[in-house]
């Protein structure tokens, strides 16, 4: 998330860019042809920005933005042909069409991830293309309006279209900026970097992804509508074709994915390049323009794999003085409200699991687990590898749906809730392998967790700083998460889970992989949580650390609960020893016990 000053700078940059385009159009460019190319540059930039809102921020790649573009173009063309609807009305209406298409497409498609999502998106425009062919809309032309051309967006002067396209681009840039600077955009970035972690931190990933697709679709459709007005001829191949989707993606990849200016840079360079090659080489060496274009893209991808924008930014920031100390963050002082104390250890049952069972194929990962955690204690779950410990956590926080059984939390059933809903009820969790958002700063990583409770960005920031203070990481707040040590990562994840003031914390092997020195710090934090009244359930391999830490042990083996009780008793239980060390050892222990 950018600071306010940065956002303001960006706003000025957008204004400067708009002025530059106007000067270019009204002062420098004389020919109608260049005005047309300029208009196309601006329009393709809008499409690419629309693509970037979904794909650049959330990481869900779409090969199908032609679908929205084409729907926009056809909305305008059909509206004008059959209802005499002016583009002044139908183009804004395209936003609705695009958003609706986004909702309809997203509903089934967000069940998929990664390549599968991208490929499924590819299918929509291709299918729509055939639908429009079947409907008999192979060639539509927008009728020429000789009487009231302005009323129908038909300008004599090509600069009219430049202004319109520029206006649309400015809107798209401002929307993108707004997205980047909001918790919406930051949540999308969190989804991009680690979707399960975002979900577990209380972000309703489904809803945000849908919103992003709808926003992206609306923008793309509006741009497509204006494209129809400029081209005046709409055919399914031109607007739904693979090339449109590819254009959206190539421009953003070239310029810099996930950046405000990347798609614009891509459009400014590549659209005139392609057109210039077409104009100069098309009738001399037909087809060579495609080869040169392809080579240009390959070269850029090799030289600047993340896009021109990031490459230039890296170059630039490397030259900047490296020793600049990170701005000191005011330690969360008096201006932050003291943490609302969790209800004092009441001893009432906080989490109750009844007969939880789940199978993966033939493997019974959990089998009839009954567990009751009274509020306020520090509970440990131990068990050998594959015992089902993490699976149990995944069932509690909603990543997995159990086949049978019921879970109640603070007296309310939470069985079958999605992770973000579970999180909102007051259950935080960390992961066995730390799920950080590596490209965000430590503070941003934690702020993501604050989106549940905080009304404003400022409150979220303060809450995050407070949580960082609790785990002793406030000095590292501005560091990028990718550069932290294991201990710091664990603490950061802990802070993220703590931000929304959970009543129950699920810690999955928080102590794993830590040296003796590091261990102490984390154990201290965990004890402190308990002192503050938070109930903690922790998974651990290392029996030694756990015996010192917890009040109560539960032992899992092969998906079953084999022992439960005070640590000293449980470690002497022959079944536990057998599970950990084998029958031989359990016999040996069992003898002196007699």
């Amino acid at each position: 998330m950018r600071t306010r000053a940065e956002a303001n700078r960006q706003r000025w940059a957008i204004l400067a860019f708009a002025l530059a385009v106007l000067v270019l159009s009204f002062v420098l460019l004389k020919s109608a042809y260049y005005q047309l190319v300029l208009t196309q540059v601006l329009l393709w930039a809008v499409l690419s920005l629309a693509w970037n809102i979904l794909c650049g921020y959330s990481g869900y790649f779409s090969f199908g933005h032609a679908g929205f573009w084409g729907l926009g173009a056809y909305t305008v063309a059909l509206g004008m042909m059959y209802f005499d609807l002016s583009p002044w009305i139908s183009i804004p209406f395209c936003a609705l069409v695009g958003a609706a298409a986004g909702a309809i497409i997203g509903y089934p498609t967000f069940r998929l991830r990664g390549h599968y999502f991208a490929l499924a998106m590819l299918a929509y425009p291709l299918a729509t293309l055939y639908v429009f062919q079947w409907l008999g809309y192979q060639e539509l032309t927008l009728p020429m309006k000789r009487e009231a051309p302005l009323l129908y967006m038909q300008f004599e002067d090509p600069r009219g279209y430049v202004v319109l396209a520029l206006g649309l681009l400015v809107i798209a840039l401002l929307i993108s900026l707004k997205v980047e600077n909001s918790r919406f955009g930051m949540s999308l970035l969190a989804i991009k970097q680690n979707e399960p972690a975002a979900e577990a931190a209380g972000i309703n990933t489904w809803r945000l992804k849908m919103l992003a697709l709808m926003l992206s679709g609306a923008l793309a459709a509006v741009a497509g509508g204006l494209y129809a007005v400029i081209l005046l001829v709409v055919t399914p191949e031109t607007v739904f074709g693979m090339l449109v989707s590819a254009q959206a993606l190539i421009l953003a990849l070239f310029g810099g994915v996930g950046s405000l200016w990347g798609p614009v840079i891509g459009a400014i360079v590549l659209v005139p390049l392609a057109e210039g090659l077409n104009a100069e080489l098309g009738d001399v060496l037909p087809g060579i323009q495609g080869v040169v274009y392809g080579v240009a893209i390959i070269a850029i991808i090799l030289l600047a794999p993340e896009g021109v924008y990031w490459r230039v930014l890296d170059r630039f920031s490397k030259r900047a003085p490296a020793a600049e100390p990170p701005p000191r963050l005011a330690a969360p002082a008096s201006n932050i409200a003291p943490l609302p104390r969790a209800p004092a250890s009441s001893g009432a049952d906080l989490l109750v699991l009844r007969d939880i069972g789940i199978s993966f194929g033939g493997l019974r990962a959990l089998d009839g687990i009954d567990l009751t955690l009274p509020e306020g204690g520090l509970y440990g779950i131990i068990g050998p590898n594959g015992a089902g410990k993490t699976t149990l956590f995944n069932v509690i926080n909603g990543f997995l749906a159990s086949d049978r059984g019921a879970i109640t939390f603070a007296g309310e059933p939470i069985t079958g809730l999605r992770p973000n809903q579970v999180c909102r009820r007051g259950i935080g969790r960390t992961f066995q392998v730390v799920r950080a958002f590596p490209r965000m700063s430590v503070l941003e990583n934690v702020i993501v967790g604050a989106f549940i409770g905080a009304a404003t960005e400022a409150v979220a920031r303060d809450m995050a700083l407070a949580a960082l203070d609790r785990v002793g990481l406030v000095d590292q707040a501005e560091k990028t998460a990718g550069g932290l040590t294991t201990r710091e990562l664990r603490l950061m994840e802990l802070a993220r889970a703590l931000v929304p003031h959970p009543r129950l914390m699920l810690l999955d092997e928080t102590l794993a992989g830590l040296g003796h020195d590091d261990l102490g710090g984390i154990l201290g934090v965990i004890r402190q949580l308990r002192a503050e009244g938070i109930t903690v359930l922790i998974i651990e391999h290392t029996m030694h650390a756990m015996v010192q830490l917890v009040d109560h042990f539960t032992v899992l083996d092969h998906g079953r609960l084999i022992a439960t009780g005070r640590p000293q008793d449980v470690v002497r239980d022959p079944r536990v020893i057998e599970a950990y060390l084998g029958k031989k050892w359990s016999d040996r222990v069992a003898v002196p016990a007699k």
Binding site: A32, M144, G282, D283, V284, L285, P286, V292
Partner: protein, 415 residues
């Protein structure tokens, strides 16, 4: 090819500097002092490049021949200069090409193109606003349905062709066999021109008017992967003849080969098509003369009686096995513009447009290149144009109708 050295060096320079600077414009305007500029926009790259090249070959030939014969006489022997734009593979590129040509050459007096109907629609949106008279061989009715004043369609429109093809085909059949066909089979794809053709037959009463019953009626989405289901229906229904409306050659090939496999080809099942692709040399190369023998197709323009000399010159110059609609129209459009310039007596686009509107040519090079007189109505459509039929005979598609300009006699394959 007629590229001046200037142009080549520009191109080479651009190829080197293309990555750094998208040089949009580097054309030197070194036009000769006394030349008149006309334009042609055609798909010179992309999937329709071959057709674009044929158009260009025809136009190049016309420009050279007219210039060597003394140029435009009414303009004191001014030479014609033709400027090409590449319409590429989509309407955006076609429109850009038009806008670029007009911006770079404000002195254009007329032009021709852009082959594919949707390209032509986009290109003429630009040329109409610039008031440049524009000729096109594209068939779509939409081109001249927009109330444009500067667009002239040299081909009969698609609807008109749809209305004329079957009556003429039936006449040919009756004449040759003494029997009037009663049933028809239709196999078509769902691209723009077959769809409008098919729409006329089914919804526009095209079949009823000529008393035909469709015993097979199949529409497919290209590309066809297997023609068996389509041809199987033809085999069991046995229509008196089969109307083929395919726009892509691979589909056409699949259907013809399947017909052969089912023993329906080589004259067993009379075949009628529509459009120039049915007479292309590529079809001959991929399908071979045997399967094509007897295939009839209606087309806007095809080599006619009176063009024998031109056809020989064309074959010699290009190495093509025969001339087709595209080359003829490329040549013919330049000829019309030349005649209009002669009549206008000025290198002025408005006067040239006016000359085309008042044209009524029945002799001379322009008239020789099109069937019927060169005469346009107020929409910009040709008047009194006969439907041309050509038929594959021994590996050459020969014009067989109308009789007065036919190069061969038609035969109706015996059923």
């Amino acid at each position: 090819m007629q590229n001046s050295p200037t142009r080549r060096s520009v191109t080479a320079g651009l190829a080197l500097g293309a990555l750094a600077v998208p040089a949009l414009h580097a054309r030197s305007a070194k036009a000769q002092a006394k030349s008149v500029k006309i334009a042609m926009i055609a798909p010179l790259s992309g999937p329709w490049a071959r057709q674009g090249q044929l158009l260009r070959q025809g136009a190049d030939m016309a420009v050279e021949e007219f210039n060597s014969q003394g140029g435009i006489k009414s303009l004191g022997g001014a030479k014609l200069e033709i400027i090409y734009g590449d319409a590429g593979d989509n309407t955006e590129k076609a429109k850009n090409a038009a806008q670029r040509l007009l911006s770079d050459h404000p002195d254009l007096v007329g032009g021709s193109g852009a082959w594919l109907s949707s390209f032509t629609l986009a290109v003429t949106e630009v040329t109409e606003r610039a008031q440049v008279p524009w000729l096109t061989l594209s068939y779509s009715d939409a081109i001249t349905n927009r109330g444009f004043k500067f667009v002239f369609q040299t081909s009969p429109t698609a609807d008109w062709q749809a209305a004329e093809t079957l009556p003429t085909a039936l006449k040919l059949a009756e004449h040759a066999t003494g029997k009037r066909p009663k049933t028809i089979g239709v196999i078509q794809d769902n691209t723009a021109s077959p769809v409008s053709f098919g729409k006329y037959l089914r919804e526009g009463g095209g079949l009823e008017k000529v008393g035909l019953k469709a015993s097979v009626d199949q529409i497919f989405t290209p590309p066809l992967s297997d023609a068996t289901p389509l041809v199987d229906k033809v085999r069991s229904a046995k229509p008196d003849f089969l109307l083929l409306l395919t726009s892509a050659m691979p589909d056409c090939k699949l259907v013809l080969e399947k017909l052969d496999e089912f023993k329906l080809a080589k004259g067993k099942m009379p075949l009628v098509g529509n459009g120039a692709p049915f007479g292309s040399p590529e079809l001959l190369n991929t399908i071979g003369p045997e399967l094509l023998e007897g295939l009839l197709f209606s087309v806007a323009n095809w080599p006619l009686k009176g063009q024998e000399e031109f056809i020989e010159r064309f074959k010699k110059r290009t190495g093509e096995p025969f001339a087709t609609q595209d080359a003829l129209c490329g040549y013919g459009d330049v000829a019309i513009l030349k005649e209009a310039l002669e009549a206008a007596g000025a290198a002025d686009k408005l006067k040239v447009a006016e000359a085309i509107r008042h044209m009524n040519l029945t002799t001379g090079p322009a008239a020789q290149f099109f069937p019927g007189p060169i005469k346009f109505d107020e929409k910009g459509r040709r008047q009194d144009v006969p439907m041309i039929f050509a038929q594959w005979q021994k590996g050459v598609p020969l014009t067989v109708f109308p009789e007065d300009r036919a190069l061969a006699k038609p035969f109706w394959p015996s059923v």
